[in-house]
Symmetry: C2
Subunit: 324 residues, 2 copies
């Protein structure tokens, strides 16, 4: 910066002012500085700025170590929103174990992030974060907790109820559920929605199958589907896909013999065979909301609880009336 100042014949402080868009700089001076900068190919040192201002403008993001559509989309939307607001995300992906979460969080804290987004679909991750009692603005994503106003997420209960209501409306009464691992908030909430909706309709649930979110688990679940079930509500689209495959291998037709509903509405769901009826979640929106909330908190605003976002049911061809 000193070099630039000399070339432009000004003080380094003036260079700093130009770079920071201060007013009260003679246009002519500004031009000379700008010219010197581009002539020298100067880039200002971010570390020194951070040190001098004690502002990093960094938002830490703790993301699960998966390449699933949901978290990935949310992180990308978040990045875009943060950048527009003059912040940049520092993303670390982490397994769910406590030590890994601590280490990732430690890294982010060392880097001086001003706020934290924790994508914590898994209970262990949330517990680990809670244990740390961090004192910076923090928002948790996808960790729906029944009755807790904290965090930002899509209303999983509502989504499950949407799916179940659709099946009930079609006339299904014997509906089975293929859940994700129940340590995942979303899996637990969807299961709860499944049971609550059935209970309300006065119907007993069929045995639960707990998978691991993968299509392979869905495939294996097919063997566990009870012979008199006429519909299956799956915890996500991947498992629904695998389930349909497994059911097909068993000689069952979807939806003629058995209906299947998924959850997430991944981009491919539209072209599964049959095209999948599923619950659509606006992942990008939660990423944007996270940034909004955090910036509000950084600016010192009060933290108002964010209402859960409503999912939308997308009816396609994998559901139909039950066989007679």
């Amino acid at each position: 910066m000193q070099d630039v100042a000399e070339v432009a014949g000004v003080s380094h402080q003036t260079v700093s002012r130009v770079l920071n868009g201060f007013e009260n700089i003679r246009p002519e001076t500004r031009d000379r500085v700008l010219a010197a900068i581009s002539q020298l190919g100067y880039r200002r040192n971010a570390a020194a700025r951070v040190l001098a201002t004690s502002r990093t403008h960094a938002i830490g993001v703790l993301a699960p170590a998966v390449s699933d559509y949901g978290p990935t989309s949310a992180v990308q939307a978040l990045e875009r929103a943060a950048r527009i607001a003059g912040y940049h995300p520092l993303v670390t992906t982490t397994p769910t174990d406590r030590a890994a979460v601590f280490s990732s969080l430690g890294f982010l804290l060392d880097q001086g992030v001003e706020a934290l987004v924790v994508i914590a679909p898994h209970i262990r991750v949330l517990d680990a974060v809670r244990e740390l009692e961090l004192s910076l603005p923090i928002v948790t994503l996808q960790s729906t907790e029944l009755g807790s106003g904290t965090g930002i997420s899509i209303d999983q209960l509502e989504g499950a109820q949407l799916a179940m209501a659709h099946l009930l409306e079609l006339g299904h009464r014997r509906i089975q559920h293929v859940a994700g691992p129940l340590e995942f908030f979303e899996a637990a909430a969807r299961r709860h929605g499944y049971e609550a909706t059935l209970a309300e309709a006065g119907i007993a649930p069929l045995p639960l199958y707990v998978g691991d979110w993968t299509s392979g688990a869905g495939y294996r679940a097919a063997a566990a589907i009870s012979p008199d079930a006429t519909a299956v509500f799956c915890g996500n689209d991947q498992m629904a896909l695998g389930l349909i495959h497994g059911l097909t291998d068993r000689g069952l037709r979807v939806p003629e013999d058995i209906s299947v509903v998924g959850f997430d509405n991944v981009p491919e769901a539209e072209h599964y065979l049959p095209p999948l009826t599923t619950v659509s979640q606006d992942f990008a929106r939660i990423g944007e909301l996270a940034v909004e909330v955090l910036l509000g908190q950084i600016a010192g605003g009060e933290r108002a609880p964010v209402p859960a976002i409503d999912p939308v049911l997308v009816v396609r061809a994998s559901t139909g009336p039950p066989r007679a």
Copy 2:
């Protein structure tokens, strides 16, 4: 740090030494320092370290703004590998236009990244990067260029040839290709492989359909499949999925009436209906290789060209002998 030093009754430099794992520190002193650190909940300021050492230990990653399985997996593997080596990735996602690439790159450079990973499947991204003539260690991913030794990628030509050889071996002669956008290196290379293999077998190619990688494009492509084609080689799995859907809607059975091959081997491909024959790419490997190469360069080593990684054909149920 000064506070810690006082509590421990040493100089701040000794604290620094403990933190940096220096030898020649009396165990007793070290313990006192460590105790003071945890008592005060002290975290060292990364920006100050960077400023003092002029080492950021950051690796910039320029990734495409998509949530596809390939780039996502590569980035995750890269992150893991970098972190193990004591580096951390700074990921920016960017659209393919020149201005956006410049701005993302500018950000990374400002942050003082010591090396750059550019995931540049798109020709415009690579061009923009080249234009900048950066002088730091840099590696490009997924930008296969015929005959160029630079960059790390999976051998797309080989993959396409694998797929085509499989179809030819089954007895197919009228094979069509559904390509991705041809500004993508991978799309171009796969197309080239398609044509080269046919040429070698003395067979004329059928009209090309160029899609946009999405399953929707695959679905639309179905309408453009020539009536006498007995097999289709798709540029990726998503398009293959859509294509199968479209063909099914046209009353064609896969593979009885027409065989379909995909590319990528996404985790769900195994459970598509029918399970998809496809070319498997080890995305994680290229992420790891990128880190390996860059660390070598940072350490001052010579840059040896990295041979392309061989993909593997996975034969499933979407391909079979042509109808008589």
